[in-house]
């Protein structure tokens, strides 16, 4: 049997006491899918969506700026780094929108506080102890159906909270037998934290990973699993994936070339494994903040402000670079060093949650992103 599945009928006496096994395969509030991909470590957005035709860009990055003819032009000013070439067809097909110069309400430069804000959805690192996606799931269906899926062995803050979520990781240990699981469920009942984690683990769907080669990158593995699980009618609707390795203080070009290849490969796998559900999907890629516009002395960049978000999927009205662009002149830079961030990332999150997942705008402003009523959802990002 599959280790996370406790089948009714066996160990009936014990199971009668285990309400956790009632896996809610109830009607989901929506057929739409949302995948959040978190690039931890602060992606240098300017290295991905390159303002290659900008003289200031070349001036501030004498060593780091890509050769103009290597950049994949999008609109004569911006282009994609060559290592993101696999995503170019998405942009051309209108399934990829790019939002540069974007940030949370955070304006300091700590990874950890920056990540906390991006995940807790408030205006302060300690503003909430749960994640905005978890609050959104509660708001969508009061949490009685496990809509959320974390890829990896731990649940990131963005998905932590009162709504139980599922999780999946790529590990190989012998399955537990049903009797042991049943007894364990009883032992955990008196400890709310263990009880909740255990209940959430039950019935996690097992994706089909056939054909995946040994040695495939973890992110691609996770993307395959995420797409496969989300594609099920009865499966979760919202997944969170993450890739580390974006904190490029040193040797940025080599490291980002590698990272972009990993990201592209994983996103392509996600699309493939979502199958027909791709048409109902939005994939949002974001990082905690951006990096300095000028290169540093080590072929890298340091912590900055304005970053880059990407929105992909069959439900996206893409092929566009959206939002305001502040430019790179000395006067335009935030504190004289960072790309400014005229675009609020919460506006993007709200657009997806309201327009794609059906969240009420009032709850988005008050509960999911408290104190954000002044930030309106970005319009026009989704296909009708």
């Amino acid at each position: 049997m599959q280790r996370r599945t406790l089948l009714a009928g066996s160990c009936a006496g014990l199971l009668a006491t285990m309400t956790a096994t009632r896996l809610a395969f109830a009607q989901a509030p929506t057929q739409n899918r949302f995948v959040f991909v978190f690039l931890r470590g602060a992606l240098d957005g300017l290295h991905a969506l390159v303002p290659y035709a900008d003289a200031d860009f070349r001036r501030l990055r004498p060593r780091l700026a890509q050769a103009p003819d290597s950049v994949l032009d999008l609109d004569g000013y911006f282009g994609l780094d060559a290592a993101l070439a696999p995503l170019l067809p998405w942009f051309q097909a209108g399934e990829l929108a790019l939002l540069p110069a974007v940030a949370t309400r955070y304006r300091e430069r700590s990874h950890f506080d920056g990540q906390a804000l991006l995940e807790n959805g408030t205006a302060s690192p300690s503003g909430a102890r749960d994640g905005w996606l978890n609050r959104a799931i509660l708001a969508l269906n009061a949490g009685d159906r496990r809509l959320g899926l974390a890829l990896g062995p731990s649940v990131p803050l963005i998905l932590q909270g009162a709504a139980p979520v599922q999780s999946w990781s790529n590990e190989h240990l012998p399955d537990l037998d049903e009797g042991f699981l049943s007894r364990l469920g009883i032992v955990y009942r008196g400890d709310p934290a263990f009880d909740a984690a255990f209940r959430a683990a039950q019935g996690t769907p097992q994706p089909d990973l056939s054909g995946m080669a040994e040695g495939t990158d973890n992110f691609t593995f996770a993307a395959r699993a995420a797409g496969d699980i989300l594609a099920h009618d009865a499966g979760p609707r919202i997944a969170v994936m993450q890739i580390d390795g974006w904190d490029t203080h040193v040797n940025q070009t080599g490291r980002l070339t590698n990272q972009f290849a990993r990201l592209s490969e994983g996103l392509l796998m996600l699309r493939q494994s979502l199958g027909a559900a791709w048409g109902q999907s939005v994939v949002l890629v974001a990082s905690e903040f951006g990096r300095t516009v000028a290169e540093n002395g080590a072929g890298g960049t340091d912590h900055g402000t304005g970053g880059l978000a990407m929105l992909a999927g069959g439900a996206v009205r893409g092929g566009r670079i959206v939002g305001d662009w502040p430019g790179l002149s000395d006067r335009a830079l935030h504190e004289g060093r960072d790309l400014a961030a005229p675009n609020a990332i919460e506006a993007l999150f709200k657009a997806v949650l309201i327009g794609h997942m059906g969240l009420s705008p009032a709850l988005a402003d008050s509960v999911v992103f408290p104190g954000s009523a002044g930030i309106a959802p970005l319009e026009g990002l989704l296909r009708a």
């Binding site: 990874h111 979520v165 999780s167 590990e171 012998p174 537990l176 042991f180 984690a197 002395g297």
Partner: protein, 452 residues
């Protein structure tokens, strides 16, 4: 196990309870712990290993003679010959130490001053870094540990400082003459020392302080980066004057006149004494030894003592042991993945674990030693360690490992490891287990065992 206090002494302050531990703790758990405070001599198990200097010198010399490929090969060899054997010896020390307070403190401070094998240049020397800069000082002055850590080639490299050039230094001018507008300063080390190691993110510093501190630290490097003769390939701290920004620096309102290497030392000493540092460290320590939500009065008490004793970590440790709040709820904390594995091995009584029962499960849990995803280190609350997937991996591994413990009786295991805090429901289902190994697995999987 005679009392909940025994459980607390062995788990909250130690690394788990095994056969014979109850008798060792005796009738005065607090006294037993207090007697461990004072010295942290190098354990015999860690005596055979090379210094970071020797390890890094070997790698640097290989690069100087054979270039990048030779360096990669030398790094690989050092991971095999230095890193991995010491990692396993260190695990053996955690599992077999009879008085494990020192081991817990080593792990706490090592996590506070996190470095990661993701930075390949220094990966092989990371256990040596912990052995040299942290272990000997867990009962010393915090200022001394801070200095030892920040000057260590492993931390300097992990946080990119050797590449940081003062814009007006000789090297910085040279860089700028080659590319106009080039930024030469790297703020990483200065920022993380302020945010993570000392004041804390709300400790009252601004971006200007980060920059000024980073300028003061320019030139803090190590021998390995100089491609000179053999002597310059060493892996020890080196102040490289041509990288150092000349002139006075102002950090947190205080002016530090130009004194080369001395500026960074003076600033570090002042940071170690700053009230925000006392508050930040007290909060982390009380979170570690009392509860995920640290009681403010306990934090205030530890912070005050930290300041009054000029950061004497022996006194601070004694005060943590004496906190009534630390003994109030023996199950307040959830063990980290690493703590859980060590505790299983201590309880199992089979001695030092092989890599397949230590590194392999930690890899499944995405928690291999020295692989924290950021300089912040691993988290220290239940939310970090108790996810659905990670709980099931812990249980599955424990179920698997429980089958390898020979004739160890499940009831005996339960008495030795969680006896005084075990709940009726746990006792019932250990007693009713269909086999000894299923019973042992139930002990390991129980909330009592996974808490501390």
């Amino acid at each position: 196990m005679r009392s909940a206090a025994t459980f607390t002494a062995l788990n909250r302050f130690g690394l788990g309870a095994g056969p014979g531990d109850d008798a060792r703790v005796g009738s005065d758990p607090q006294g037993w712990l207090a007697a461990q405070v004072g010295a942290s001599p190098l354990p015999d198990l860690l005596a055979p290993f090379r210094s970071a200097d020797a390890i890094l010198t070997g790698i640097n010399a290989a690069r100087n003679s054979g270039g990048g490929e030779a360096r990669a090969l030398a790094t690989q060899a050092a991971m095999q010959d230095d890193y991995r054997p010491e990692l396993l010896a260190r695990a053996a020390q955690f599992v077999t130490a009879e008085a494990a307070l020192t081991e817990r403190l080593v792990l706490f401070w090592s996590n506070h001053f996190t470095v990661s094998t993701a930075r390949r240049q220094i990966a092989a020397a990371i256990p040596a870094y912990e052995r040299e800069a942290i272990r000997p000082l867990v009962y010393g002055r915090f200022a001394d540990m801070l200095r030892a850590v920040v000057r260590h080639p492993v931390m300097l490299t992990y946080l990119d400082n050797p590449f940081s050039l003062g814009p007006d230094s000789a090297e910085g001018r040279r860089r700028q003459s080659r590319g106009a507008g080039a930024v030469t300063l790297n703020e990483n080390l200065a920022r993380e020392v302020l945010e993570l190691h000392t004041l804390g993110v709300d400790g009252g510093y601004a971006q200007d302080d980060v920059i000024q501190f980073a300028l003061a630290l320019t030139g803090w490097s190590h021998g390995g980066l100089r491609r000179g003769d053999a002597d310059e390939a060493h892996g020890r701290f080196l102040f490289v004057a041509p990288q150092h920004q000349p002139g006075p620096k102002r950090v947190l309102g205080r002016l530090y006149p130009e004194s080369g290497e001395g500026e960074g030392l003076a600033i570090l000493d002042d940071l170690a004494r700053h009230p925000s540092t006392a508050q930040h460290l007290a909060t982390k320590l009380v979170r570690h030894f009392v509860a995920d939500a640290p009681p403010p009065e306990a934090v205030a008490q530890i912070a005050r003592l930290f300041q009054d004793t000029d950061g004497d970590l022996a006194e601070v440790t004694r005060a943590l042991i004496a906190l009534p709040q630390a003994w109030a709820d023996p199950l307040a904390k959830v063990k980290s993945h690493h703590e859980f594995l060590i505790a299983v091995h201590r309880a199992g009584g089979q001695g030092a674990p092989g890599p397949q029962h230590y590194i392999a499960p930690l890899r499944l849990l995405a928690a291999e030693p020295f692989s924290a995803p950021s300089p912040q280190g691993w988290g220290d609350t239940a939310a970090h360690w108790l996810g659905p997937e990670s709980l099931m991996i812990r249980v599955e591994w424990a179920r698997h490992f429980a089958g390898r413990l020979g004739t160890l009786a499940a009831r005996q295991l339960m008495e030795d490891s969680i006896g005084a805090v075990s709940r009726d429901v746990t006792r019932t289902w250990v007693y009713r287990a269909p086999s000894q190994d299923a019973g042992r697995a139930m002990v390991f999987a129980s909330p009592e065992f996974q808490r501390r």
